[in-house]
Structure formats: C-alpha cells, structure tokens
Symmetry: C2
Amino acid sequence: MSTQVSPLALPLPEMPSIAGAECASVAAGIRYKKREDMTVFRFAAGTTVAGVFTLNKCPGAPVDWCRAALKGGKARALVVNAGNSNVFTGRAGRETCERTAAETAQLLGCKPKEVFIASTGVIGERLPTDVLLAALPGAVGKLEADSWQSAAKAIMTTDTFPKGATRTAKIGETVVTICGIAKGSGMVAPDMATMLSFIATDAKIPAPVLQKLLSKGSAKTFNCITVDSDTSTSDTVLLFATGQVKHPRVPAEGGAILKDFARALDEVLHELALMVARDGEGAQKLITIDVTGAVSAKSAHRIAMAIANSPLVKTAIAGEDANWGRIVMAVGKAGEPADRDKLSVAVGGTWMARDGGVIPDYDEAPVVAHMKGREVEITVDIGLGRGKARVWTCDLTHGYIDINGSYRS
Amino acid sequence: MSTQVSPLALPLPEMPSIAGAECASVAAGIRYKKREDMTVFRFAAGTTVAGVFTLNKCPGAPVDWCRAALKGGKARALVVNAGNSNVFTGRAGRETCERTAAETAQLLGCKPKEVFIASTGVIGERLPTDVLLAALPGAVGKLEADSWQSAAKAIMTTDTFPKGATRTAKIGETVVTICGIAKGSGMVAPDMATMLSFIATDAKIPAPVLQKLLSKGSAKTFNCITVDSDTSTSDTVLLFATGQVKHPRVPAEGGAILKDFARALDEVLHELALMVARDGEGAQKLITIDVTGAVSAKSAHRIAMAIANSPLVKTAIAGEDANWGRIVMAVGKAGEPADRDKLSVAVGGTWMARDGGVIPDYDEAPVVAHMKGREVEITVDIGLGRGKARVWTCDLTHGYIDINGSYRS
C-alpha cells in the first residue's frame, strides 16, 4: 500500500479550542500498532447534537447506535476508533456499542444515550471490545481542549493527510467558533473507504435547528462528493454545539440570527468534503463538475453524479484527455431528461461542444493546458431548464487499483 | 493499447450459412487501416426484424435511425461500420444515416427504411460519409452466405477476440438455424465501449413475435452483463428472420410452437453476452453473481448489478480477495430492501457469512482456491423473499486503466 501523500493534499490548519469540547487520542491497539487509533471527546452539559449518516441499507452497528441516540438531541461524549468498523458483526456488534456507551457514561458521569460512537476499518471482524474499553480510562485522563490536531490524525485509516477546518461566525455581535475534522477515502485493506466527520461549536443552538443546518449544509457538500460510487456502511457526520459562549438567544425556529453561522458552517463542511475528495484513493486530480440547464436541481445533481462516477470519464481525466464524448455518454446514462442536440460541454471554461455538436474551431490549447493541471473543471449545460448542481470527485488511476486490489500473497 | 487476447477468450465456432442472409466485409478505411471495418448484410424479401437498443438518453444517430426503421418490421439490409460511432454529430449524423440507407436501398433494390445501420467507435467526430458510401458497391459485389466469421472480425473495435454463436432448433419437426455475432467492450480511444450484436435465423416469424422473443431473451442476457456501469450511446441488438425454411406456420401470437426456438435463441444470446463480459477491458476474471431471497426479481437484479458495478468488489476480485465485506456494502448501496442481519454470502459455493455474521469456522481453503481461478461465483441471499437474479461482469484491473486512461503525449 502506498504511503505517499496525495498530490492534492492541503495542510492541516491551526485549530482553536472550542469551549466545552475536550478530546484525547490514545493508542488502543485495536488494529494499528504504534499509532493513536482511538479518540474520545467530552462535551459540556447542555451540548446539543445533530447527525447525518450513510444511506447504505446495511449500516454498521455504530450508525444504528448514533441514529437512536440522536433522538435525545443531547451529547456528552463521542468515542471514535480506527481500524475496525464494527460492521456486519451481528449481535456482538450491538453489544460492543452498548458496552462502550455504558463504560464511557460511567467514566464521564452521563447517560449512555449521550455517548456517540463511530468506528471505521475492517468489516465483518468482531471489534475487540475489551481492548477498546481498556483504553478508555487513559483517554479520559488526558482530555484537553486543545487537541483537535491529534484527533484529526488518530481518526485516519489510510488517509494520506489529516483533515481539519475552522471558522468563526457572529451570532448577534458575539463571535462563536466552529472546528471540524474529517477522515476520508483511504482504504484499510480489505475494506471500503469510510467518511467520518466531527464538528463542534461553542454556540448554543437547539438540537432541531442544529439538525436543519447540518442536513442542509451536508446536502451541498458531503453529499456532493464521490470517489468511486461505492457507499460506505459507516459514513457519519456529527455536529455538536456546546453552548458555552453567551450570545443572543437562538429561537426555537432558528432563523435570521444564524445566517452568518450557517455561512461559516457551510464553509467548514465544504472544506472538509473537498479534502476527502482530494484524498480519494489514487487521486491525482480534483474534478469539479457543474451541471446547468437541467429540468430541476435534483436532476442536475443526478446527472453530475453520473459524470463523477463514470469510470470512463475518470480514466480519461487521469489520462489528461478532455474526452467530451464520454461526458455526453455519462449524461445520457443518468436517465434524466436530456436532449442530445441541446447539450453543451466545456472543460476549464472553454466550450468544446455546443447544441449537440463539436464546435469546429474551438481553441484546443487552453483545454490541453487545463487538463495537465491538478484541478479539472467540467461544465455541462443540458439546455432544457434552470436546474443546476455542483459535485466533486477525483480521477481513476492505477493507484486506485493498487490500493483496492490488495494482492494477497 | 494492449493487443493481448483476453485470457477469458473463447474460440469462434464454425458458423453455418443462414438461407436468405448474405454478408460481406470490406476495408472501407473509415478509421482503421489495413483491416476490414465495414460489413453489409443482405436479407431475402420478407425478412422480419426485431431490435433492442441502449437506454442511454443521448443515443447515436444510427440508434435513432434503427428505432424508426423498426416500426416497419421488415429488413432487407444491415450496414455496420467500426471506428466511428456517428454519435453527437448533430444534423450531419442524421444525414449520414439517410444517405447510407438511400444508397444501400438503391444498390439492393429495397426501401431505405428496410436498411438498418450500426456504427461504433469515436464519438463526436463526423463520420466520413463519402468514404463509407464509396465502399458500399464493393461490399455488395462480394455478398455471400458463408461469411459470418469474417463479419465477426470486421465489426470488432478493440475487442481482443471475435464473438459468434450458433444453434439449431425445431419448429414442429423442421430444423431451423440461428447464427449470431457480437462485439463488445474493447475500447477505441478516445471513446467508450459499445456492444453490438446481429443475429439471423432462417425461420419465418412475424415481427411482433420476434420482438417479444428478443426483448425477453435480452433481458436475461445482454441486460445482465456490465463491465464498468457505463452505458454506451450505441448499444444495439438486431434479430433478423429470413423465413427461407418451410416449417409449420407460426401464428400471429407466437406460442408453444416456438418453445424450442426460444430456447435456442436464448442460448445464442447468452453465449454472445458472456463473450462480451469475457472481453471487458482488462478482464482477468469472469464473475457470475447470483442474488436470491430478494423481495422481487427486479430488486434482486438491482442488487446484483450494484455488486457487479462496485469498483471495490471488482478490485477485490482482481486481487483474489474474497472480500465479503465489500459485497455487503454493495448490497446496501443498491437502495433495495435488505436487512443486514439476514444476509448470507457465498463465494464459489462456500458460505462465508450467514444471517448477518461471518461463519466462524468456514473452510477458507476452497474459497482461496476458487478466487485464484478464471471464473468467480458470488452468491448472496437477502433472506427476505423469493426474488432472484443472475448477472455477469469482469474484474477491474490495471488493464482497464491502461486501456481507458489513454495517456496522450
């Protein structure tokens, strides 16, 4: 397996502390040796929580656990481990979650249903619960507010770089802070990529409002990235609001007072999501796909995802070939309303085809130069309506096969 | 581009002549040099025809042409060229079809709407119509009944082996013959794979009955294979019945008299479809996926296709890794009803996981041995109902990236 850092990597930013959120990472030894692989967060009393999860119909036990816990809207802890996803582990998997929550609740003095759990790694192997539980007290003993950076590293599986983002926002005249970390689509052979992201803010926001903000923000960020069309059984995004900063009260229905907060949250989600795409297995190029002129935004999104998931489009881009024929194929494959003779395609801002045919004398030079870069932009106008969407993906390279076709000796 | 023959290749069988169907292949020089790249078929008066086509919403001009021509139910000719797909070529593309049909009709003394057309190759480049038309008289001049084998070769693009199949069947006590050829998923840089197949029989079958047989047969053969989930703009299967053999009359509604014919046709379609999967770009292994216990046959088919199209499943198989965790992920990704705790997974007939958990002491030795072979069998039982489906695909290897990521100098 390659240990080379993605050429699209971004540096981990300085991450300020969030009042009411402490964390600690330890080497529990669940699967990895000689590295931190378990992270515990403790949140102040009164912390509210929101979550979005994989749409996979066979989710892992931790996803089931979090979905149920989320109904209470309150969080006091989060336990994350890397190396074993606790997926497809039957009754044992549920017991692992129950015991982890019970033990953490006892250590921190809260209810089990206020403990959130996320696991990533091998599927179908029992998570060694005793090993995880044995490491809990050590983690709790070193909790501190200023350890986001080590958490960003401890949750990695075969991500090639740690991912973090931070913003401040105003609620009324009061400044609040948002910090988030994510892990993405590095692979732990023999398993699938999983996207996990954990975000905390010191703002005080009712859980239903927080959920609305996270759902809306994720829809245009995390749900607009794809690496290979495969959907992990463990994808989880959790947003915690500790309420430790005094600011004008946020009403139960949210509203205009959160406008700047929503902007800042969306930026954090956007930055983290793109970092995940930048660390797709074997990625050499980040691809932005804009679809305009579809019959609806939903239709535009489906067309954009069909392009982003097309192996033929992705291999063409890996080969630095501005192959608009394959893009047209992918549009048609989406099954959404499209008229071949109204399609237009641009690469890097240069229109190559318009109204169903190649533009005879389009200038190829800027297209060729654009394709050699690390970031490739594709725009498709469907020519039927006003629906638009933007998604991100990476190219499909030999690196993907190397990482995922783990040749066993 | 690799010129190595797929390790999954099968030999081209002896192909008997079909009374009332003659063909000839010539080197028209549309794109390829020094090889036959155009094939013309002439069918006897009274020949009926059926067709199935790509579901891609942006099909090529020849697909539009055939769909319209099919309404007449009669065929006298078929013109196929390799190297240019005449897709996304706007008005020029339509004119190419019109001129090809008109010219062929004149040469053969039939109506333009009795001429069928199929093109495969580059997308978005105008097909040099004059070059194609100039080659037509030469092809017509050498038409003969016994040239299926050369046609199987002339329609290839970067297929690594020619594909043909033949069967006989009884209608009443009379023996009739079916011959078919196909081309598959070799790539013509910079374009997508296209599946074309042409089948002829000397039986006399009304067009609506023929269409029903072809639609039903294709649904369980050609529509059950996938290489990379991408859908060509040109996929076309045409079935011609020349009616040159005297057999008991087939009634307008078809019925029991065609039972043996349907069996033989299905076998031809099955054999051709599997040859296409065996020649998937970079394929090293043929994968058969059986899904049982789904809530319906349709649901089973969708789940099977989700597994077959999963890059993570396909790379695992390339790596000879019986990674049932990825199979479970793909089941969940399909979006169809599934219950993680009722799933069972077998590889090569050995059950590895049952009722949502790994079988602790399953015998790994036969699984490991099975994975090293050229043909891999995966069975998933959903445990919910009685719906079942079978599909075929190939693994995802470095060869796929080599072929499709055509690095331009």
